[in-house]
Symmetry: C2
Amino acid sequence: MKNYELLLREHNLKVTPQRIGILSVLGDMGHVSIEELFTIIRKDFYSISIATLYKNISFMMEVNLLKEVKVPNGKSKYEILKDEHSHMICKKCEKLEDVKVCLDSIVKNISEKSGYMFDDNSLVLSGICPTCQKGTV
Amino acid sequence: MKNYELLLREHNLKVTPQRIGILSVLGDMGHVSIEELFTIIRKDFYSISIATLYKNISFMMEVNLLKEVKVPNGKSKYEILKDEHSHMICKKCEKLEDVKVCLDSIVKNISEKSGYMFDDNSLVLSGICPTCQKGTV
DNA sequence: GTATTTGCAAATGATTTGCAGTGCT
DNA sequence: AGCACTGCAAATCATTTGCAAATAC
């Protein structure tokens, strides 16, 4: 449980209960789609509007508080921005997990060859998670 | 210029002029969004329906003839499936380019640590391309 | 000849916008 | 007090579906 109020202020966003709610759900779940967020957050804010979610997710991405994770064959999920990391998705249970990967040397190498100046990357590995590998189905 | 007719047959899809048109555009452009495809292909097939594009893009992805590239901060683009490769996108001019990267050892390493069995990955590097670096704007 | 594909129009789903009322600082 | 945020409803944009006519094989 973090201090989401402070997090908002640090990013120059006004503090509202809805925003704290959004961040709490993201903090608890790690990655959430808009739909999922809407379902979950309505338990606490029954009359919250989906428009509020869209607007706030956009704002929070603009100020680099959130990041969008584009999931192969699925809807985008959002996460609170933290240290650079990559993702693994299980094609069976669709669980999305963070994974720490060092891409520095690869990125440096491509940068030198191509002349690009990179400042971001997104890597998603797709496969079957250990749990689903065991499953008989 | 390739033999798209053969490519369709190999994937057990019937050959139609529209499908050949779609593949020609993809072959020429490398990566295209649905919108772009619609605009371009209408030069040759004025009355083609956007529904036809959606249906065919789906079919072609199902049979592994096409692949979707999820672009950060942009619409998905589609490409003809070929050897494994990654992508670089310029945040300024939005050009999307292929790049050959060997992720084998990284993937192997994560697989061992996590227990996942991976069979696909998508890496997109974002930055500024050499041309846009020069530009004064 | 039969099954599939196409184009159209309508339906559905996702996201954005405008605005009146409310809440933050 | 003043500006930003919220919720609602309507508008817009994206994608899917159903169906009759046309086409592939």
